[in-house]
Protein backbone atom coordinates (compact mmCIF):
# COMPACT_ATOMS: atom_id res chain seq x y z
CA UNK A 1 0.00 0.00 0.00
CA UNK A 2 1.12 3.56 0.66
CA UNK A 3 4.75 4.11 1.54
CA UNK A 4 4.45 6.28 4.64
CA UNK A 5 8.11 7.21 4.88
CA UNK A 6 7.86 8.74 1.41
CA UNK A 7 4.76 10.61 2.44
CA UNK A 8 6.27 12.01 5.62
CA UNK A 9 9.43 13.01 3.80
CA UNK A 10 7.86 14.74 0.80
CA UNK A 11 4.76 16.20 2.41
CA UNK A 12 6.38 19.62 3.13
CA UNK A 13 7.27 20.00 -0.58
CA UNK A 14 3.68 19.41 -1.57
CA UNK A 15 2.48 21.85 1.05
CA UNK A 16 4.64 24.57 -0.50
CA UNK A 17 3.07 23.68 -3.88
CA UNK A 18 -0.35 23.95 -2.26
CA UNK A 19 0.54 27.41 -0.97
CA UNK A 20 1.23 28.54 -4.52
CA UNK A 21 -2.11 27.00 -5.57
CA UNK A 22 -3.76 29.00 -2.81
CA UNK A 23 -2.03 32.17 -3.94
CA UNK A 24 -3.13 31.64 -7.56
CA UNK A 25 -6.68 30.87 -6.39
CA UNK A 26 -7.00 33.99 -4.25
CA UNK A 27 -5.59 36.28 -6.94
CA UNK A 28 -7.84 34.78 -9.65
CA UNK A 29 -10.78 34.96 -7.29
CA UNK A 30 -10.36 38.70 -6.72
CA UNK A 31 -9.69 39.47 -10.38
CA UNK A 32 -12.48 37.10 -11.44
CA UNK A 33 -14.89 38.93 -9.19
CA UNK A 34 -13.94 42.27 -10.75
CA UNK A 35 -14.26 40.85 -14.29
CA UNK A 36 -17.57 39.22 -13.40
CA UNK A 37 -19.10 42.33 -11.88
CA UNK A 38 -17.93 44.53 -14.75
CA UNK A 39 -19.19 42.13 -17.41
CA UNK A 40 -22.51 41.66 -15.59
CA UNK A 41 -23.13 45.41 -15.35
CA UNK A 42 -22.09 45.93 -18.98
CA UNK A 43 -24.37 43.15 -20.18
CA UNK A 44 -27.24 44.82 -18.32
CA UNK A 45 -26.43 48.27 -19.71
CA UNK A 46 -28.71 49.88 -22.27
CA UNK A 47 -25.72 51.10 -24.29
CA UNK A 48 -24.83 48.52 -26.98
CA UNK A 49 -21.18 49.63 -26.90
CA UNK A 50 -21.02 48.22 -23.38
CA UNK A 51 -23.43 45.37 -23.84
CA UNK A 52 -22.04 43.64 -26.90
CA UNK A 53 -18.41 43.31 -25.75
CA UNK A 54 -19.70 41.79 -22.49
CA UNK A 55 -21.97 39.38 -24.36
CA UNK A 56 -19.06 38.40 -26.62
CA UNK A 57 -16.63 37.88 -23.72
CA UNK A 58 -19.05 35.69 -21.78
CA UNK A 59 -19.93 33.66 -24.87
CA UNK A 60 -16.29 33.20 -25.92
CA UNK A 61 -15.09 32.00 -22.52
CA UNK A 62 -18.00 29.69 -21.85
CA UNK A 63 -17.83 28.04 -25.25
CA UNK A 64 -14.12 27.16 -25.20
CA UNK A 65 -12.06 24.90 -22.88
CA UNK A 66 -10.05 26.52 -20.08
CA UNK A 67 -6.96 24.56 -21.14
CA UNK A 68 -7.05 26.09 -24.62
CA UNK A 69 -7.59 29.54 -23.12
CA UNK A 70 -4.50 29.09 -20.95
CA UNK A 71 -2.45 27.90 -23.95
CA UNK A 72 -3.51 30.93 -25.99
CA UNK A 73 -2.43 33.31 -23.24
CA UNK A 74 0.83 31.55 -22.35
CA UNK A 75 2.00 30.20 -25.72
CA UNK A 76 0.06 32.40 -28.13
CA UNK A 77 0.23 35.91 -26.69
CA UNK A 78 4.08 36.17 -26.77
CA UNK A 79 3.78 35.81 -30.54
CA UNK A 80 1.87 39.12 -30.62
CA UNK A 81 4.23 40.73 -28.14
CA UNK A 82 2.44 40.03 -24.87
CA UNK A 83 4.62 37.87 -22.67
CA UNK A 84 3.15 37.57 -19.20
CA UNK A 85 5.21 34.63 -17.95
CA UNK A 86 3.71 31.44 -16.55
CA UNK A 87 2.37 32.78 -13.25
CA UNK A 88 0.60 35.85 -14.60
CA UNK A 89 -0.67 33.94 -17.63
CA UNK A 90 -2.16 31.37 -15.30
CA UNK A 91 -3.80 33.93 -13.04
CA UNK A 92 -5.17 35.94 -15.97
CA UNK A 93 -6.49 32.83 -17.73
CA UNK A 94 -8.23 31.55 -14.62
CA UNK A 95 -9.61 34.98 -13.74
CA UNK A 96 -11.01 35.54 -17.23
CA UNK A 97 -12.55 32.09 -17.13
CA UNK A 98 -14.21 32.32 -13.71
CA UNK A 99 -15.12 35.95 -14.50
CA UNK A 100 -17.41 34.89 -17.34
CA UNK A 101 -19.22 32.40 -15.10
CA UNK A 102 -19.39 34.96 -12.29
CA UNK A 103 -20.87 37.49 -14.71
CA UNK A 104 -23.86 35.28 -15.44
CA UNK A 105 -24.31 34.52 -11.74
CA UNK A 106 -24.16 38.20 -10.77
CA UNK A 107 -26.45 39.25 -13.60
CA UNK A 108 -29.01 36.67 -12.52
CA UNK A 109 -28.89 38.01 -8.97
CA UNK A 110 -29.33 41.60 -10.07
CA UNK A 111 -32.34 40.94 -12.28
CA UNK A 112 -34.00 38.93 -9.53
CA UNK A 113 -34.30 42.05 -7.32
CA UNK A 114 -37.87 43.38 -7.77
CA UNK A 115 -38.28 46.34 -10.12
CA UNK A 116 -40.04 48.32 -7.39
CA UNK A 117 -36.71 48.63 -5.57
CA UNK A 118 -35.12 50.50 -8.45
CA UNK A 119 -38.23 52.65 -8.86
CA UNK A 120 -38.28 53.55 -5.17
CA UNK A 121 -34.58 54.42 -5.25
CA UNK A 122 -34.87 56.49 -8.42
CA UNK A 123 -38.01 58.25 -7.16
CA UNK A 124 -35.89 59.49 -4.24
CA UNK A 125 -33.50 61.17 -6.67
CA UNK A 126 -30.77 58.52 -6.70
CA UNK A 127 -28.81 58.13 -9.92
CA UNK A 128 -28.77 54.74 -11.62
CA UNK A 129 -25.30 54.05 -10.24
CA UNK A 130 -26.27 55.07 -6.71
CA UNK A 131 -29.37 52.87 -6.82
CA UNK A 132 -27.27 49.94 -8.08
CA UNK A 133 -24.57 50.35 -5.45
CA UNK A 134 -26.70 51.06 -2.40
CA UNK A 135 -30.01 49.34 -3.11
CA UNK A 136 -29.79 46.66 -5.79
CA UNK A 137 -26.35 45.04 -5.34
CA UNK A 138 -26.64 44.54 -1.57
CA UNK A 139 -29.90 42.68 -2.13
CA UNK A 140 -28.57 40.76 -5.12
CA UNK A 141 -25.59 39.66 -3.03
CA UNK A 142 -27.72 37.37 -0.89
CA UNK A 143 -28.86 35.53 -3.98
CA UNK A 144 -25.46 35.60 -5.66
CA UNK A 145 -23.19 34.35 -2.88
CA UNK A 146 -24.02 30.60 -2.87
CA UNK A 147 -23.53 30.05 -6.65
CA UNK A 148 -20.56 32.42 -6.64
CA UNK A 149 -18.95 30.29 -3.94
CA UNK A 150 -19.54 27.26 -6.09
CA UNK A 151 -17.65 28.97 -8.92
CA UNK A 152 -14.74 29.58 -6.57
CA UNK A 153 -14.54 25.95 -5.45
CA UNK A 154 -14.41 24.97 -9.11
CA UNK A 155 -11.73 27.63 -9.62
CA UNK A 156 -9.49 26.07 -6.96
CA UNK A 157 -9.69 22.70 -8.70
CA UNK A 158 -9.13 24.30 -12.11
CA UNK A 159 -5.84 25.81 -10.93
CA UNK A 160 -4.33 22.34 -11.49
CA UNK A 161 -4.49 23.10 -15.22
CA UNK A 162 -1.84 25.81 -14.92
CA UNK A 163 0.62 22.98 -14.24
CA UNK A 164 0.60 22.55 -18.02
CA UNK A 165 2.05 26.04 -18.49
CA UNK A 166 4.98 25.38 -16.13
CA UNK A 167 3.60 26.99 -12.97
CA UNK A 168 4.99 24.81 -10.18
CA UNK A 169 1.83 24.65 -8.12
CA UNK A 170 0.50 21.60 -6.33
CA UNK A 171 -0.05 19.32 -9.33
CA UNK A 172 3.23 20.09 -11.05
CA UNK A 173 5.08 19.74 -7.73
CA UNK A 174 3.62 16.24 -7.42
CA UNK A 175 4.57 15.40 -11.00
CA UNK A 176 8.15 16.57 -10.50
CA UNK A 177 8.50 14.57 -7.29
CA UNK A 178 7.23 11.51 -9.14
CA UNK A 179 10.06 12.02 -11.62
CA UNK A 180 12.62 11.53 -8.87
CA UNK A 181 10.80 9.07 -6.58
CA UNK A 182 8.74 6.92 -8.99
CA UNK A 183 5.92 6.99 -6.44
CA UNK A 184 2.89 8.32 -8.39
CA UNK A 185 0.31 6.81 -6.04
CA UNK A 186 1.66 8.49 -2.90
CA UNK A 187 2.28 11.82 -4.61
CA UNK A 188 -1.09 12.13 -6.32
CA UNK A 189 -2.97 10.97 -3.22
CA UNK A 190 -1.18 13.65 -1.20
CA UNK A 191 -2.01 16.24 -3.84
CA UNK A 192 -5.66 15.15 -3.80
CA UNK A 193 -5.78 15.43 -0.02
CA UNK A 194 -4.34 18.94 -0.13
CA UNK A 195 -6.84 20.01 -2.83
CA UNK A 196 -9.63 18.65 -0.66
CA UNK A 197 -8.33 20.65 2.29
CA UNK A 198 -8.29 23.85 0.21
CA UNK A 199 -11.76 23.40 -1.30
CA UNK A 200 -13.28 22.35 2.01
CA UNK A 201 -11.80 25.39 3.75
CA UNK A 202 -13.25 27.56 0.95
CA UNK A 203 -16.67 25.94 1.39
CA UNK A 204 -16.60 26.53 5.11
CA UNK A 205 -15.61 30.15 4.62
CA UNK A 206 -18.48 30.45 2.20
CA UNK A 207 -21.04 29.12 4.68
CA UNK A 208 -19.78 31.66 7.19
CA UNK A 209 -20.08 34.55 4.70
CA UNK A 210 -23.54 33.35 3.67
CA UNK A 211 -24.70 33.29 7.27
CA UNK A 212 -23.35 36.78 7.87
CA UNK A 213 -25.05 38.33 4.84
CA UNK A 214 -28.29 36.63 5.77
CA UNK A 215 -28.11 38.16 9.23
CA UNK A 216 -27.49 41.59 7.76
CA UNK A 217 -30.16 41.42 5.10
CA UNK A 218 -33.44 40.11 6.37
CA UNK A 219 -35.91 40.27 3.57
Amino acid sequence: MLDWTIIVHYFPFLVSGALLTLQISVLSLILGLAFGLTAALCKLAANPLLRWPAVFYIWLIRSTPLLVQLFIIYFGFPQIGIDLGPFMSGVLGLALNVGAYNAETIRGGIISVPKGQTEAARSLGMSGAQAMRRIILPQALRIIIPPLGNNFVILIKDTSLVSTITVVELTLTAQRLIGSTYKPFEMYVMAAVLYAVLTSAASMLLVWVERRTRKEARA
Binding site: Q117, E119, L124
Partner: protein, 260 residues
Protein backbone atom coordinates in the same frame (compact mmCIF):
# COMPACT_ATOMS: atom_id res chain seq x y z
CA UNK B 1 -44.33 79.29 3.22
CA UNK B 2 -44.04 82.43 1.13
CA UNK B 3 -47.05 84.72 1.32
CA UNK B 4 -48.94 84.92 -1.93
CA UNK B 5 -50.36 88.20 -3.19
CA UNK B 6 -54.12 88.25 -3.33
CA UNK B 7 -54.25 90.34 -6.48
CA UNK B 8 -52.20 87.90 -8.57
CA UNK B 9 -53.48 84.43 -9.41
CA UNK B 10 -51.33 81.77 -7.69
CA UNK B 11 -48.88 80.08 -10.02
CA UNK B 12 -49.59 76.36 -10.21
CA UNK B 13 -47.25 74.01 -8.39
CA UNK B 14 -47.76 71.53 -11.17
CA UNK B 15 -49.05 72.08 -14.65
CA UNK B 16 -49.72 69.35 -17.16
CA UNK B 17 -50.48 70.11 -20.80
CA UNK B 18 -51.98 67.63 -23.26
CA UNK B 19 -50.03 64.75 -21.76
CA UNK B 20 -49.89 61.60 -23.79
CA UNK B 21 -48.47 58.18 -23.10
CA UNK B 22 -48.70 55.14 -25.28
CA UNK B 23 -47.13 51.72 -25.29
CA UNK B 24 -46.95 50.78 -28.95
CA UNK B 25 -50.54 50.73 -30.14
CA UNK B 26 -51.97 51.12 -26.65
CA UNK B 27 -52.80 54.70 -25.66
CA UNK B 28 -52.86 55.01 -21.91
CA UNK B 29 -53.00 58.80 -21.66
CA UNK B 30 -54.85 60.67 -24.38
CA UNK B 31 -54.16 64.31 -23.69
CA UNK B 32 -54.44 65.18 -20.01
CA UNK B 33 -54.54 68.85 -18.98
CA UNK B 34 -54.26 69.61 -15.31
CA UNK B 35 -53.20 72.33 -12.91
CA UNK B 36 -52.46 71.72 -9.28
CA UNK B 37 -52.13 74.72 -6.97
CA UNK B 38 -49.67 74.86 -4.09
CA UNK B 39 -51.11 73.19 -0.94
CA UNK B 40 -53.87 71.63 -2.99
CA UNK B 41 -54.92 68.01 -2.42
CA UNK B 42 -56.02 66.54 -5.72
CA UNK B 43 -57.67 63.14 -5.59
CA UNK B 44 -57.69 61.06 -8.77
CA UNK B 45 -60.34 58.38 -9.13
CA UNK B 46 -61.36 56.15 -11.98
CA UNK B 47 -61.60 52.53 -13.11
CA UNK B 48 -58.45 50.43 -13.40
CA UNK B 49 -56.69 51.00 -16.70
CA UNK B 50 -57.91 54.60 -16.88
CA UNK B 51 -54.34 55.93 -16.70
CA UNK B 52 -54.32 57.26 -13.11
CA UNK B 53 -51.09 55.54 -12.09
CA UNK B 54 -49.43 56.28 -15.40
CA UNK B 55 -50.24 59.96 -14.92
CA UNK B 56 -48.48 59.97 -11.53
CA UNK B 57 -45.53 57.99 -12.88
CA UNK B 58 -45.10 60.46 -15.74
CA UNK B 59 -44.81 63.32 -13.26
CA UNK B 60 -41.60 61.94 -11.72
CA UNK B 61 -40.57 60.40 -15.02
CA UNK B 62 -40.71 56.75 -13.99
CA UNK B 63 -42.62 56.63 -17.26
CA UNK B 64 -41.51 58.73 -20.19
CA UNK B 65 -44.42 60.67 -21.69
CA UNK B 66 -44.92 60.26 -25.43
CA UNK B 67 -46.25 63.78 -25.78
CA UNK B 68 -47.21 66.93 -23.89
CA UNK B 69 -45.50 68.88 -21.15
CA UNK B 70 -45.28 68.71 -17.37
CA UNK B 71 -44.10 71.73 -15.40
CA UNK B 72 -43.05 71.81 -11.76
CA UNK B 73 -43.22 75.41 -10.56
CA UNK B 74 -42.79 76.51 -14.15
CA UNK B 75 -39.81 74.22 -14.87
CA UNK B 76 -40.35 71.77 -17.69
CA UNK B 77 -39.89 68.22 -16.37
CA UNK B 78 -39.87 66.17 -19.57
CA UNK B 79 -37.39 68.49 -21.24
CA UNK B 80 -36.28 66.52 -24.29
CA UNK B 81 -34.09 69.37 -25.52
CA UNK B 82 -31.36 68.50 -23.03
CA UNK B 83 -28.40 66.25 -23.65
CA UNK B 84 -28.70 62.77 -22.20
CA UNK B 85 -26.32 63.42 -19.34
CA UNK B 86 -27.83 66.80 -18.53
CA UNK B 87 -31.33 65.31 -18.62
CA UNK B 88 -30.31 62.60 -16.16
CA UNK B 89 -29.11 65.25 -13.72
CA UNK B 90 -32.22 67.36 -14.29
CA UNK B 91 -34.54 64.43 -13.63
CA UNK B 92 -32.74 63.46 -10.43
CA UNK B 93 -33.11 67.06 -9.29
CA UNK B 94 -36.83 67.03 -10.13
CA UNK B 95 -37.30 63.72 -8.31
CA UNK B 96 -35.76 65.22 -5.18
CA UNK B 97 -38.67 67.66 -5.16
CA UNK B 98 -41.40 65.13 -5.94
CA UNK B 99 -41.98 62.42 -3.37
CA UNK B 100 -43.71 59.18 -4.31
CA UNK B 101 -45.36 56.45 -2.28
CA UNK B 102 -46.12 53.14 -3.98
CA UNK B 103 -48.86 50.57 -3.61
CA UNK B 104 -46.30 47.88 -2.72
CA UNK B 105 -44.35 50.12 -0.27
CA UNK B 106 -40.99 49.18 -1.84
CA UNK B 107 -39.02 49.68 1.35
CA UNK B 108 -35.38 48.66 1.18
CA UNK B 109 -35.40 45.26 2.93
CA UNK B 110 -31.69 45.26 3.76
CA UNK B 111 -31.93 48.46 5.79
CA UNK B 112 -33.57 49.28 9.10
CA UNK B 113 -36.53 51.65 9.23
CA UNK B 114 -34.26 54.52 10.24
CA UNK B 115 -31.73 53.70 7.49
CA UNK B 116 -34.54 53.59 4.93
CA UNK B 117 -35.52 57.14 5.84
CA UNK B 118 -31.94 58.44 6.09
CA UNK B 119 -30.50 56.89 2.93
CA UNK B 120 -31.56 59.34 0.22
CA UNK B 121 -30.94 62.60 2.13
CA UNK B 122 -27.44 61.36 2.97
CA UNK B 123 -26.62 59.91 -0.43
CA UNK B 124 -28.38 62.33 -2.76
CA UNK B 125 -28.59 65.62 -0.87
CA UNK B 126 -25.26 65.00 0.91
CA UNK B 127 -26.69 66.39 4.11
CA UNK B 128 -24.94 66.17 7.43
CA UNK B 129 -25.61 62.92 9.29
CA UNK B 130 -26.83 64.39 12.57
CA UNK B 131 -29.31 66.67 10.80
CA UNK B 132 -30.58 63.79 8.68
CA UNK B 133 -30.90 61.54 11.69
CA UNK B 134 -32.80 64.11 13.76
CA UNK B 135 -35.11 64.83 10.86
CA UNK B 136 -35.71 61.11 10.22
CA UNK B 137 -36.54 60.49 13.88
CA UNK B 138 -38.94 63.41 13.86
CA UNK B 139 -40.68 62.12 10.72
CA UNK B 140 -40.93 58.62 12.14
CA UNK B 141 -42.51 60.16 15.23
CA UNK B 142 -44.99 61.97 13.03
CA UNK B 143 -46.08 58.74 11.35
CA UNK B 144 -46.30 57.03 14.75
CA UNK B 145 -43.33 54.68 14.45
CA UNK B 146 -40.82 56.06 16.95
CA UNK B 147 -40.55 52.62 18.53
CA UNK B 148 -39.70 50.86 15.25
CA UNK B 149 -36.62 52.76 14.13
CA UNK B 150 -34.24 49.80 14.39
CA UNK B 151 -36.66 47.22 12.99
CA UNK B 152 -36.30 45.75 9.51
CA UNK B 153 -39.20 46.19 7.07
CA UNK B 154 -40.03 42.47 7.10
CA UNK B 155 -40.80 42.74 10.81
CA UNK B 156 -43.50 45.38 10.24
CA UNK B 157 -47.15 45.18 9.21
CA UNK B 158 -48.17 46.52 5.81
CA UNK B 159 -49.62 49.63 7.37
CA UNK B 160 -46.43 50.30 9.30
CA UNK B 161 -44.31 49.72 6.19
CA UNK B 162 -46.42 52.17 4.23
CA UNK B 163 -46.02 54.82 6.92
CA UNK B 164 -42.24 54.30 6.80
CA UNK B 165 -42.44 54.75 3.04
CA UNK B 166 -44.25 58.05 3.54
CA UNK B 167 -41.61 59.19 6.04
CA UNK B 168 -38.88 58.12 3.61
CA UNK B 169 -40.36 60.27 0.84
CA UNK B 170 -40.90 63.22 3.19
CA UNK B 171 -37.26 63.09 4.32
CA UNK B 172 -36.32 64.64 0.96
CA UNK B 173 -38.54 67.62 1.84
CA UNK B 174 -40.45 67.42 -1.44
CA UNK B 175 -42.74 70.12 -2.78
CA UNK B 176 -45.26 67.63 -4.10
CA UNK B 177 -46.21 64.15 -2.94
CA UNK B 178 -47.59 61.47 -5.24
CA UNK B 179 -49.61 58.65 -3.67
CA UNK B 180 -50.23 55.70 -5.97
CA UNK B 181 -53.01 53.55 -4.47
CA UNK B 182 -51.10 53.43 -1.22
CA UNK B 183 -53.79 51.60 0.75
CA UNK B 184 -54.80 49.06 -1.90
CA UNK B 185 -52.39 46.38 -0.68
CA UNK B 186 -53.30 46.77 2.98
CA UNK B 187 -55.56 44.75 5.23
CA UNK B 188 -58.72 46.81 5.89
CA UNK B 189 -57.93 47.41 9.56
CA UNK B 190 -54.56 48.97 8.67
CA UNK B 191 -55.87 51.46 6.13
CA UNK B 192 -57.01 54.01 8.71
CA UNK B 193 -53.55 54.68 10.17
CA UNK B 194 -52.09 55.39 6.74
CA UNK B 195 -54.96 57.68 5.74
CA UNK B 196 -54.62 59.59 9.01
CA UNK B 197 -50.95 60.28 8.25
CA UNK B 198 -51.94 61.55 4.80
CA UNK B 199 -54.64 63.72 6.32
CA UNK B 200 -52.12 65.28 8.71
CA UNK B 201 -49.83 65.93 5.79
CA UNK B 202 -52.63 67.65 3.87
CA UNK B 203 -53.40 69.78 6.90
CA UNK B 204 -49.74 70.82 7.10
CA UNK B 205 -50.08 72.23 3.59
CA UNK B 206 -48.41 69.59 1.42
CA UNK B 207 -49.34 69.62 -2.26
CA UNK B 208 -50.66 66.12 -2.92
CA UNK B 209 -51.84 64.02 -5.84
CA UNK B 210 -53.64 60.98 -4.53
CA UNK B 211 -54.75 58.07 -6.67
CA UNK B 212 -57.14 56.09 -4.49
CA UNK B 213 -60.25 54.01 -4.21
CA UNK B 214 -60.97 55.43 -0.73
CA UNK B 215 -63.94 57.65 -1.53
CA UNK B 216 -64.33 58.63 2.12
CA UNK B 217 -60.81 60.04 2.11
CA UNK B 218 -61.44 61.83 -1.20
CA UNK B 219 -64.50 63.52 0.18
CA UNK B 220 -63.01 64.45 3.53
CA UNK B 221 -59.44 65.47 2.63
CA UNK B 222 -59.54 66.29 -1.07
CA UNK B 223 -59.77 69.88 -2.26
CA UNK B 224 -60.63 68.67 -5.72
CA UNK B 225 -61.43 65.36 -7.33
CA UNK B 226 -60.87 64.35 -10.92
CA UNK B 227 -62.45 61.35 -12.53
CA UNK B 228 -60.37 59.69 -15.24
CA UNK B 229 -61.41 57.15 -17.85
CA UNK B 230 -59.70 55.95 -21.03
CA UNK B 231 -56.72 58.22 -20.49
CA UNK B 232 -58.55 61.52 -20.20
CA UNK B 233 -59.96 63.64 -17.39
CA UNK B 234 -63.70 63.13 -17.70
CA UNK B 235 -64.79 65.27 -14.80
CA UNK B 236 -63.05 67.77 -12.55
CA UNK B 237 -64.97 69.05 -9.53
CA UNK B 238 -65.01 69.73 -5.82
CA UNK B 239 -65.51 66.58 -3.72
CA UNK B 240 -69.03 67.71 -2.80
CA UNK B 241 -70.03 68.26 -6.41
CA UNK B 242 -68.32 65.07 -7.59
CA UNK B 243 -69.97 62.79 -5.10
CA UNK B 244 -73.40 64.41 -4.73
CA UNK B 245 -73.99 65.68 -8.23
CA UNK B 246 -71.70 64.17 -10.89
CA UNK B 247 -72.30 65.69 -14.32
CA UNK B 248 -71.00 62.99 -16.64
CA UNK B 249 -72.71 59.71 -17.30
CA UNK B 250 -69.47 57.75 -16.96
CA UNK B 251 -68.73 59.35 -13.59
CA UNK B 252 -72.18 58.48 -12.33
CA UNK B 253 -71.76 54.92 -13.53
CA UNK B 254 -68.37 54.54 -11.83
CA UNK B 255 -69.49 56.08 -8.55
CA UNK B 256 -72.60 53.89 -8.52
CA UNK B 257 -70.31 50.84 -8.83
CA UNK B 258 -67.78 51.81 -6.14
CA UNK B 259 -70.21 53.32 -3.64
CA UNK B 260 -72.58 50.37 -3.84
Amino acid sequence: MTPTSSTRPIDPMLEIRSLQKSYGQLNVLNGVDLKVAPREVLVIIGPSGSGKSTLLRCINHLEEPTGGQIYLEGELINDTGRSRKDFEKHINHIRCQVGMVFQQFNLFPHMTVLENVMEAPLLVLKKDKTTVRDNALELLGKVGLSDKTSAYPSMLSGGQQQRVAIARALAMEPKVMLFDEVTSALDPELVGDVLRVMEDLARDGMTMLVVTHEMGFAEKVGDRVIFMADGVVVEDASPQAMFSNPQERRTRQFLKEVLK
